[in-house]
Symmetry: C2
């Protein structure tokens, strides 16, 4: 509950810091966790251009002795001088700015600051990005090096860059001009930096809130901090600062990303403390996570290599987690109930024993659900529980001994090899992966359907994978991190990952990809698939890969889904999958994005290949399953 939640991390921006120790005490006494302060005092604008720094005499900034190392690294975010102009067309301004930047970054590293903040004033920031990125890369202790917070306004009026040039400290009086896409500024900056994880966003809250699309796009970016100008606060009846409802709404979104807050600008209320208190109030009054979000806590954007339950035996704890799903087995039970009633009309109720087989019974949740469904339907059933994992069979046999009795027959066998003593009326399985067929349910059920009667029912009766394009520097960065020294670089980009998608933007609604139906009555069964999907792209974006989902029809109208629009409420058994792309692709508003997907198979393996073909054509990912296959 809210009471146990940590407080918001809120910082105070200080424009001019004469005594840093005093300033820090002041901010801390006012409830702030950190401050942002210029690395070099604004008056110390330096002139390097002739090789001899024309500084005023003495040190160019305050001494490191003013604070302890611990305080420098945990309480101070250093701000780069706002007069720096590394992209000036005038060479001496540019070169002077380059030298001043080196001096400031060098001093920030010397102090051991954990973050440095740089404000973008336009998309003309290529040399700035290059110089900062170079400095980070050049550090021998890349890991220990500071983070860079790139401050960008959430949106800006068209003439903002002019305004900035003339009045560097004021943006408030910008007229209601056409909005410009400040995301492009950030996108330029981070693209030059090759989407390096060291670079995050300090997103400045704007007076007007951009459209939902634009907000969602920001939600796919690595936001470290939201900057809130004090000018955005209203004053409530009691005289305290509050944000408008629209601004509050933004925080409902960004707080999910675990961002920090930075208050900037002059104090316009009785105490500077009030802003922090208000932000903390907003933080504490977030709605509670839903079941799924609770379950997923800590797994956000964490890449997992998909399970291969066909090749590998699951462990007890894995079964335990999945058995706890509050939705999945209820729906299976409903499906079985309906199927049982359809199979045995009330007239045959006492004369007929229905044969139901659970293939891949695991530790028995579907057996339990089958027995419950039959009981509710008041029909006699005989259950075969087929399981290939000998460890899970131990559990099944114990349950059979102690609870189920003769109604249940436990079969320790791979369903593809078993020869049943009789055929089934209903075949129940739970072999689906996050992408539907990706745990080889089609191949398994094709093998198992030989022991289904000609008019038998398969639960599930069908399933479909779905695909949506994603922007997520976060996930892209995680894939880069998966790089294994023993594998070629390419490998980690040619496989899907199971992941709780979090810091990402979906660039278009998911579309259905591959479908499978059971039992499969085709003359020759072929589970390879090939399809291309076209997505209409509404805004400028960067494409980093695709989200994969699935839905399934268990029986008639009883369905399970992890497709966002139709997600079964509260079901947590499946996180989505992420198919990465080797290189981010820049997408322009209005373009068509086309992707081709293949499901390929040989005698030993199944795998996917994918290839973006519009707006630009790229290489095939995972040809011949060279980087990733699913073993049969």
């Amino acid at each position: 509950m809210a009471a146990s939640r940590q407080h918001v991390s809120c910082g105070l921006d200080l424009h001019c810091v004469t005594d840093i120790s005093n300033c820090l005490s002041f901010a801390s006494n006012s409830g702030y966790q950190f401050i942002t302060a210029p690395i070099v005092h604004p008056r110390f604008q330096r002139e390097f251009i002739l090789g001899k720094s024309k500084n005023r005499p003495g040190a160019f900034t305050r001494s490191d002795l003013l604070l302890t190392s611990q305080d420098w690294s945990s309480l101070i975010v250093g701000k780069l001088s706002t007069w720096l102009n590394l992209d000036s067309p005038i060479t001496h301004i540019r070169k002077n700015s380059e030298q001043a930047l080196q001096q400031e970054l060098g001093y920030a590293a010397h102090l051991g600051l954990s973050a440095v903040l740089v404000s973008l004033k336009s998309g003309n920031c290529i040399n700035l990005a290059r110089c900062i990125h170079s400095r980070i890369l050049a550090s021998e202790s890349y890991q220990g090096m500071f983070q860079v917070w790139v401050e960008v306004p959430m949106q800006a009026a068209e003439d903002l860059s002019e305004v900035y040039i003339n009045q560097p400290e004021s943006t408030e009086d910008s007229t209601v001009a056409k909005q410009i896409d400040t995301w492009d500024w950030w996108n330029t900056f981070r693209s030059v930096c090759n989407t390096d994880k060291k670079f995050g966003l300090a997103l400045e809250l704007s007076p007007d809130i951009p459209s939902e699309d634009i907000i969602n796009r920001w939600m796919g970016e690595p936001i470290r901090c939201i900057t809130v100008p004090t000018s955005l606060f209203l004053t409530n009846k009691k005289g305290y600062p509050v944000l408008s409802r629209a601004h509050q709404q933004v925080f409902q979104n960004v707080f999910k990303l675990g961002v920090q807050v930075l208050i900037k600008g002059v104090n316009r209320h009785e105490s500077i403390r009030y802003y922090q208190q208000y932000m903390d109030h907003l933080w504490m009054s977030q709605p509670n996570d839903d079941t799924l979000a609770q379950f997923a806590r800590g797994y956000e954007d964490y890449l997992q290599v998909p399970l291969q339950p066909l090749m590998d035996n699951l462990e007890s704890c894995t079964y335990e987690i999945f058995e706890k799903d509050p939705v999945k087995y209820t729906e299976y039970q409903r499906a079985m109930y309906e199927a049982i009633l359809d199979k045995v009309p009330s007239t045959e109720k006492d004369s007929r024993v229905l044969v139901l087989m659970v293939v891949g019974a695991g530790r028995g949740p579907l057996v339990r659900a089958a027995l419950a469904a039959a009981k509710k339907a008041e029909r006699d059933i005989k259950v075969f529980a087929v399981e290939k994992n000998p460890n899970a069979v131990v559990t099944l046999q114990n349950l059979q001994d102690e609870m189920w009795g003769s109604k249940v027959t436990v079969v320790s066998s791979d369903m593809r090899d078993w020869n049943p003593p009789e055929k089934a009326d209903i075949l129940v399985s739970e072999l689906l992966g996050s992408f539907g067929d990706n745990e080889l349910s089609p191949e398994c059920l094709d093998g198992a359907q030989k022991f289904l009667k000609d008019d038998g029912i398969s639960i599930p009766e069908s399933y479909t994978s779905h695909l949506a394009p994603l922007q997520s520097p976060k996930l892209y960065g995680e894939v880069v991190q998966m790089k294994d020294r023993e594998k070629p670089h390419i490998t980690c980009f040619e496989m899907p990952y199971v992941v709780r998608l979090h810091n990402r933007t979906e660039l278009a609604s998911p579309q259905p990809l591959f479908s499978f139906h059971h039992p499969n009555r085709d003359e020759v069964i072929n589970n390879t698939r090939y399809k291309n999907l076209t997505f209409h792209i509404e805004n400028n974006y960067v494409l980093h890969g695709f989200a994969g989902y699935f839905d399934t029809v268990l029986y008639k109208n009883i369905k399970l889904s992890i497709v966002p629009e139709t997600h079964s409420p509260g079901m947590f058994s499946w996180f989505p999958v992420f198919f990465p792309l080797k290189e981010p692709i820049q997408l322009k508003a209005g373009c068509q994005l086309q992707v081709h997907f293949w499901r390929c198979a040989n005698r030993k393996n199944v795998w996917y290949e994918w290839c973006v073909t519009k707006p630009v054509i790229g290489p095939i990912h995972n040809p011949n399953g060279r980087s990733y296959t699913i073993g049969l």
Copy 2:
């Protein structure tokens, strides 16, 4: 001369081969070096769709025993069946085609064919490309695997794909419809295949010749073969087949790429032999190579890591090659002659001894030129020959002893360290690399200018690098091959190469980049540079990197240049450089291409960084010189 030139390699396309041994004899007796023949007879169209191949009984094609392995591998190019349609929207047609393709490619590998030809009928070839590429990659002996010749018409009418579908064997009657860009077909195919070197073009000569731009674009592609339909031949007065002047002109271009020729279609003249004879005649009557081309023979598209003459000492054979340049030293001598005359008016002719210093004298070619210039000008000079390479100093000292006498003083020293006994009137150097400043001429001359009089002359007096965008899958593939197991993959894409550019297309005219002037009288000398260039792109292209050139003003109007438009005729001392890009970038006709270039320096090294920022923004190449630097 022509007499010593090998003959053209000309093949004959056979549509229907009943007896391959006879056909081969026939073609060989008619002067052809190879034949193209269907891997499977067209009548053997197979039907795999229901899993059981509904073939006619018996083998699906002719036996491998009909020819020796040697003949299969050297004389036969296998053609894939024209009915294959791997990109059909109809699943069973697609799947059947996939299986037939596998069978044909498998048989081609079994026979050990060195090439397989596949004809594109449209840009709808993504699955076809994927399947063939997969087969090549899957081969354990990738190196031994056949090449794939992708046949594409040089241009096609808009309704060609329709024509093909209805009349697969005839393209002659296509109306004069709007031309479509068949290059896009090929570009789609090879992009899916990740620009793999195994894939080359069989470019079909079209009745109408496309514009020069379009021809030039094809010249940047890996053309293995030009296909010539017999229908394109005219008949001359004597009854022999000849090509129009426009068609002949195409061959003047493509022959430089060392392509083979393939004659296809029905014999329309007295003997099929005549076509081969005519092509051979065209081949033999190519104009002779110019001096530069002769010098460069064998070096076409061969990547060399740039020399570092400042860090490493050149070898004798390297000096020997460069001293043979027929232009460079003549121009230096002219420049010195003019400078000497300007320095010593005829009134001072007898009273003044001019001091000329050659810094980086090597084995003495500039000393020789200086003495000759002074002699011609009838002025007295005293030459200091400064050289840091102790091995070259041996040559200089011998020359001084045996030939030059007291006019020349040999100084064994790095010019940056030497303390001269007097100052020079003229400072002569030849420190320029293919990209002008890339062998650190600026840094060397900045050091050396301390021994130049205040009114002294530097030869060269200035130099400028130039840059042009390039399309060249060939060069891209060569860079991929440079991959070193011990270095990260990225390294080979973050350095320039010296290379005789050959199989490439220049996408826009070169533009000047960085300029340097000597002597440099700036208060503080700074040789870092930063500039961005914008190129207007007229056609659809793929960008693989940039060509780098330079030109220099030796003295007044005496110049040297390797910029194509102004190349000093016959000068061979410098090949251009190539700056690659990690990922090819697809360019659309009408777009602006912007690239940023930096010349960076620290105390030990100089290096370049580059970054494409339009039409899409990419990462910085070689940040901090992490992959490539030039040592000071």
